[in-house]
Structure formats: C-alpha cells, structure tokens
Amino acid sequence: MKEEIADDKSIFGFWVYLMTDLILFSVLFGAYAVLRGNTFGGPAPRDLFSLSSALTSTLVLLTSSFTCGLAAIAAQRGKRNGTIAWLTATFALGATFLTLELAEFSRFVATGASWQRSAFLSSFFTLVGTHGLHIAVGLLWIVVAVIQVRLRGLTPATTSKLTRFTLFWHFLDIVWIFIFTTVYLLGII
C-alpha cells in the first residue's frame, strides 16, 4: 500500500518531467522551423538528407521501443532473465541508432556542413543532437537498471524505475517521429 502510493507519486512526477522536456523540445522545434530556410548560401535540407538512412534510423528506434515494451511486460510477470534480455536488446538497438546518427553528423561535417555553416545547420544539429543526447542518457539508464535488476531482482523499487524508463524511451520515440517528419520528410519534399 505504502509502496503503491510512492510509485503513484513518482510515476506522476515523471510524467510532469516528461512534459517539461517536451516544452524544451518544442522550443528547439520552433527554432528549427524559423531557421530552416536560413541556409546563408550553404547546403539546404534537400542537399543533405537521405530518406533511406533516416528511415533506417527510424525503424531501428521503433523496434527498440517494441523490445522496451517487451521488457516491461517481462518485468510485470516477474521474469528477471527475460527483463534483462529485452533490456539488452533495447540497448543494442539504441546504440545502433546513436551510431547511425553520429555517422550522419560526421558525414555532414566532413562535407563542410557543420553547425557553424548556417543558422539552418545550427538548429538542425541542436534539435537532432539534443534527441541523441537523451538517447545516450537512456542507454546509461539501461546499464544501471540491468545492474540493479541483477543485484536486487524485480523489487517494487526496481520495477518502478523500469516503468519510468519505458515512459522515457517511448517519449523519445515520439519526439523522433516528429523529428523524422518535420526535419527529414519535409526537408526532402
């Protein structure tokens, strides 16, 4: 009973945190929308983005969301090993996503399209990079969560943390869908 109340508070608090993070992202989206035309003679969105690589990243991240959901189900059913296995899969997919993103960034910088080139590129790197930074935090969180589940099993405390992690991961997925649409799709069309 006591733990249920604590869990209720922390989940609600985490939702509130996610909303504040969403506002932060919306500022970055707004800045991107304002500045995306300001290429200052440098490369424009259509010169840089490739739909196939963006689609690959998207599919990798969506799959990681699926495995993250499976980890949550395994945790609810009290299956410790299943939880750890699905979390590991989520980690692998998240890391792949991050690698793809960093590869894209270095490709852009190598062609002279760095964040210093134009306001458009500043806002692109900031928006996508902030999302990537969140993914990196999520990966670190997975590592800590796996260690805690291994050491302590699926206690109410660790399960509650896992629930918050899945909220965080799905949230990043939704933000990415918006990035995919407003940055990549609209940029190429």
Binding site: I23, S122, T126, V144
Partner: protein
C-alpha cells in the same frame, strides 16, 4: 599546457578593479568570520546535520529565506549605487562609475532581484507553509527539494563569482538580448556568467516547481478536495504550474545563446542567417509568465492575511480560484507586449494589446474580493495588514500604468522609458515583495515560536511605502519627459536632475526601511520570551498550519488532520465553542478533543548530502564552461552523473519515527 589546464582563465583576468577587489575582500572577511564563529561555538556538525543536509521542507524553507535575504542585500546595494550615479551624472559631472560598470550593475540588479531575491523568498515561504496547509509531512520528492535548493544556492554563488575569480559581469541588460550579447559584441565572460547562473538556478527552480505540483496534487490530507484548499496553496499551485511550463523555455533559450557563444552557432547572430528577434520572442515567452510566478503566490498570502485579520472567511473563494487560474492561462498569451515596437504589424499588436488589457479583469476581481472581505469585518491593523493595504493602493496604481502601456500606440511612446521601469517596480515591489514581507511577519511565529515586534514592523512598512512613492513617482514623470532606462549620463538642459535626486532620497528611505526590518528581527529575537507563541495559533488563524505547535515539530503533525470544509482549522474551533472575541484565540488543545489523539509510526525522509555534491559538480561544469576549461567540463558532467547513479543505489532514504517517540515529544511539549 596552461591553456589546457586553465582555459581562458589567466592571471590578467583576476580581480584588479576597486569594486571587485573590495567585494572579494568583504566576501573573504565574511567567510572567515562565519567559519571562526562556527569553530568557536563548535557548530560545524550541527550546521551540517541539522541544516545543510536536511530534506525537511521547513528547514530548506528557512535556508531559502536566509540566502534570499543575502541576495536581496546585494541587489539593494546595486540599486543604491545606480540611484546615486544617476543623481550625480548630469552635465559636466559624469558621476563616480564608468558607463560599462554601471551597465553591469543594472544587469546584476535585475537578475539578482528577480531570480535570487524574490524567487528565493517565495520558494522559502512555499516550502515552509504549503505542506502544512495541506496537512502533508513532507514533499513528494524530499531529495529533489534539497537538490533544488542547492542548485539555487550554486546559481547564487555563480552570479557573484566574477568578483572573486575575475572577468566581468554581463552588461547586455537583465535578459542579455542578442546581437549585443553575442560573442562579437560581448567578447568577455560576462554573458557566460549570466547564462550559467540562470541555467543552474533555473534547473533548481524547475525541480522545485515539479515537486510542488506533485505534492499539492497528490499529497493533500484526507477530505481536502481541490476546492477546499487554502488560497495560498491554490496560488502556489498556479505559480508552480507556470514554473514547469515556462522554465524549460528559459533553459532552452539561454542554452541556444550559449551554443552561439561557445560552439560558434548562429541562432541569434546578425550574420549567417541567425535571427535575434527569435531570442526576444523566446525569452519573453518565459519572461512574462515569470512575472506572474513572482506575484501570484503573494495574492494567496494576502488572501490568507486579509481573511485572518478581518475575522471573516474570504469573500468569493470560487471567483478567487477562477481569477488565479485565468491569470495563469492568460500570462502565456501576452508576451509580445514587451516588444510592440519590433514591428509585428498592427493586427498582431492589437491582439496582444487586448489580451494584456484583459488580465486586468481577473486581477480586479481579486481586488474587489479582498476589499469585500474587509467590509464589516473586525479588522486588526497588524503589520501584515499594513503591507496588505499598501499593496492594494500600490498595485492598483501600478496596474493602471500597466493598462496604459498595454495600448500599442501609447507603448510606442513609452517603450524603454523610465515610465516602464516605474510600472514594473510598482508591480513587483507591491505584488511580490510586500506579499513576501507580510508573509514572513505572518508566519514568523509558526517557524520560530515567537512573534515579531509590531511597532518596528509598522515603522518599517511606512518607511518602505514613503520611500517607494518618493523614488518611483519621479520615474513616471521622467518617463514622460523622455528619460530612457539604463541611463548613465544626461544633459543639464534635459531637466532630469531634480527628479533623480528625489528618487535617490527615496531609496535612502527604503534602505532605512530594510534596516528597520533587520532591527525588528534582532529586537524580537532578544525579546522572544515576551512574544512567545505558546498556543500555536497566535493570530487566531483559519488554516491547518495553525493547528500544530509553534515552532513546528520536525514531523509537522503528531496526528494527520482531517478536513471537512474550507478554513479547516477555524471550523474545528467554532465546532467546539462559540466564536471567540477577536484577538483572543482558542488554543489548539481546546480545539482538538484529546481522545482522538492516536499516534502512529511516521515515515520520515533521511538526510542526504548528495544534493550538495551534485550541485557542486554542476557548478564546476558551469564554471569550466565560462572559462572554456574542457577537461573540467567533462569532470563536472561525469561527477554529476556519478552522483545520480550512487543516489539511485541508495536504499536507506527513509527512516521510521515510532509512535512512542512521537508521544514522548508531544508530552514534553505539552508541559510548560
């Protein structure tokens, strides 16, 4: 090598001006004096265990208020320096400050008063009182509360850091508007200090806001529905909702400015496609709600005070709540009135002008409700009541000026003038500070166990009010005469000087008022035996915080109260007896029948120093970012992450206070 180790920090950047050296010396002296006193009285462990590492909102609240008072002193000193310069600097005389120094003082004054004085006081009062008003023993996340305070403290140190470490403070206005604040035009460290002190303290504010929203929504005592909450809790909720909705915008905006300055990005630069006007929009999307974050809690404080000292329930409770909520919502629809002159076009300006005018309606509703609460009440003219009446007159006065400014046509004339400066000082001093002063006097006995000296309190109020009128009425006139803000020099023929001199005399009266307030605390502490509050209910109060002892025990309530109506404590009093004559309070023990006292085990949150360590690492990161010391930035980030991970492994964050222990303490309290 030296550049790797110290970044841009060189011997040459260390303090070498009279004011930085002087401030460094005085900070060092104060630090040594404090350390010596602590060592002499053997109080180090006491300070660490009882205060610094505490997660108790009552202690954190006191720490907020102490730190905010120090920052208020710093901001006030800045104000005095500004007034003296402006009174002197006319014609041949250029005053005693050079132009760049004066601009730094202006920036520091604005930021310190808003972020560190007023916000600190408000978070202090909310920490002290809101949990008690809703019958909660603690906040939803005690650790986050401690962390929030320490981030605020780190930000407060940061804004004073340039005195000691060197460099300069920002001189691009209190909101550091680009392109002036960009690296090209402000190459020094000033704007970076500005960015990181706001980032760090803003993060603390955001954590605090989140914590209070969850606490108020999830931890109210049994029976307290939303529409039975005391009005201070309601307005705190509104203010904290504004915090969580607007502070992320501040974080993001100042971060973008920093990216411009640190990574050479082009969000707000004048070249490379940057858009400085976007900064102005973004910063005011945070900035306007911020104004309401400062004043809405005071509306709640005044509602409690006017009801208590009129001996009546608040008039029009439901309309008060609706007004607070509508101000909360409307505050997001008016940001553009800060820059009508930017040229958004007549339609956009008209929309924002009308929305701004509309805010006067809910505010007016509250005004009428307060006045109606006094109507036919048995009013006791105590110090808080004086501040309330001063607020009613000043806020109405300043509000009228605001409605005038909300008309775009008039604003084109008055924009950036001292008229505007006078307007917002009238609003923030009456709506922010007077509420805080009233709240501190009102709840002082609850926190310390004794009342403040009334005679000195009322004298301080009159000094504040007279000083305020004397220093800000001339500013309205100067605004009409064309004097702009942040003026460091003017021609004799402008005819400004007599008004500036009047204003400077006014600030002296205000300073006397502040000294009287300090004296009031000293005298009252000396005479605390005479002014002791033994009942827990010194003012004949109405809400739950008066139902427990003064000073409040660390577990707040021995038995969690139950609530059946608004003015929960008042109802229990008249439930037992006839309404007492005003001024004579029914004591707590008469109010609650002894048979209902059944103690239970209480879960208390344990002390933790992790908030201090974590903020220290964040502080290091900010410091390294100002001076471009890359390895230290990395060390700061890694340290902060390590703290979070260590904390997440900690299982002993709570301890149990047994019913027997509670009973023992309660029994000891009962006997005189």
């Amino acid at each position: 090598m030296a550049h790797f180790l110290f970044g841009n920090l060189t011997w040459g950047s260390l303090p070498h001006l009279w004011y930085t050296e002087g401030a460094t010396a005085s900070i060092a002296l104060m630090g040594i004096a404090a350390a010596a006193a602590l060592t002499y009285y053997k109080r180090w462990t006491w300070l660490w265990k009882e205060w610094l590492t505490s997660t108790d909102p009552k202690k954190i609240g006191v720490m907020y208020i102490v730190l905010a008072s120090l920052m208020f002193f710093r901001g006030g000193l800045d104000a005095i320096m500004i007034w003296i310069q402006q009174a002197m600097s006319s014609g041949a005389s250029h005053g005693y400050l050079d132009a760049s120094h004066l601009q730094q003082i202006f920036t520091a004054h604005g930021d310190i008063m808003v972020f560190f004085a007023t916000m600190g006081f408000l978070f202090g009062l909310i920490n002290l009182i809101v949990p008690l008003q809703i019958g909660a023993r603690d906040l939803a996340f005690p650790f986050l509360n401690s962390l929030g305070f320490w981030l605020y403290a780190a930000g407060a140190v940061f804004i004073n850091l340039f005195f000691v470490v060197g460099g300069e403070f920002a001189s691009a206005g209190w909101l550091s508007l680009p392109p002036l604040a960009e690296l090209q035009y402000s190459p020094g460290t000033g704007v970076d200090y500005w960015i990181w002190s706001l980032q760090i303290s803003g993060l603390g504010t955001l954590l605090g806001g989140l914590n209070f929203v969850v606490t108020i929504l999830k931890m109210r005592v049994k029976g307290m529905t939303l529409m039975k909450m005391p009005l201070f809790t309601w307005t705190s909720l509104c203010s904290m909702v504004l915090v969580i909705a607007s502070f992320p915008v501040l974080t993001a905006t100042t971060l973008l400015l920093w990216l411009d300055r640190f990574f050479g990005m082009h969000f707000f630069t004048s070249g490379f496609g940057g858009n400085p006007m976007m900064y102005v929009n973004l910063i005011w999307m945070w900035g306007h709600p911020e104004v309401y974050i400062l004043v809405i809690p005071s509306f709640g404080i005044f509602s409690e005070i006017v009801a208590t000292f009129s001996g009546k329930r608040i008039y029009g409770y439901v309309s008060m709540v609706c007004a607070a909520i509508s101000i909360t919502l409307l505050s997001f629809l008016v940001w553009l009135h800060h820059f009508f002159t930017m040229g958004s076009g007549a339609d956009v300006n008209a929309f924002f002008g009308i929305m701004t005018g509309i805010i006067a309606i809910p505010t007016g509703v509250q005004m009428f409700n307060w006045v109606m609460t006094m109507f036919r009440g048995r009013i006791r003219f105590t110090t808080p009541m004086h501040y309330f009446l001063g607020f009613v007159s000043l806020f109405t006065f300043g509000g009228m000026a605001g409605v005038l400014l909300s008309i775009p046509g008039a604003d084109f004339e008055l924009h950036n003038s001292l008229f505007l400066v006078a307007h917002f000082h009238t609003m923030i001093v009456s709506g922010g500070l007077f509420g805080i002063f009233a709240g501190i006097v009102y709840w002082f006995p609850k926190v310390t166990g004794f009342k403040l000296n009334e005679r000195l309190g009322i004298r301080a109020f009159w000094l504040w009010l007279a000083g305020f009128f004397l220093s800000f009425t001339p500013l309205y006139i100067l605004g009409f005469m064309g004097a702009t803000r942040r003026l460091d020099h003017y021609a004799v023929t402008a005819g400004y000087q007599p008004y500036f001199i009047a204003a400077a005399i006014g600030i002296c009266l205000i300073a006397l008022g502040a000294i009287t307030q300090l004296w009031q605390v000293v005298v009252s502490t000396k005479e605390r035996k005479q002014n002791q509050d033994t009942t827990g209910d010194p003012w004949d109060g109405r809400t739950l915080e008066w139902s427990t002892h003064s000073p409040v025990p660390f577990y707040s309530f021995a038995v969690t109260p139950e609530v059946h109506s608004r003015d929960a404590f008042w109802e229990t009093k008249i439930g037992r007896k006839e309404l007492p004559p005003p001024g004579i309070s029914l004591s707590r023990r008469e109010a609650i029948p002894p048979s209902t006292k059944k103690y239970e085990d209480i879960e208390m949150s344990a002390n933790t120093a992790m908030g201090i360590y974590l903020s220290a690492f964040v502080f290091l990161f900010g410091f390294a970012a100002v001076w471009h010391i890359i390895w230290l930035m990395l060390a700061g980030v890694i340290g902060a992450i390590a703290c979070v991970i260590v904390r997440s492994f900690d299982e002993h964050t709570e301890y149990t206070l047994t019913a027997a222990e509670v009973e023992k303490i309660e029994m000891a309290r009962k006997l005189p």
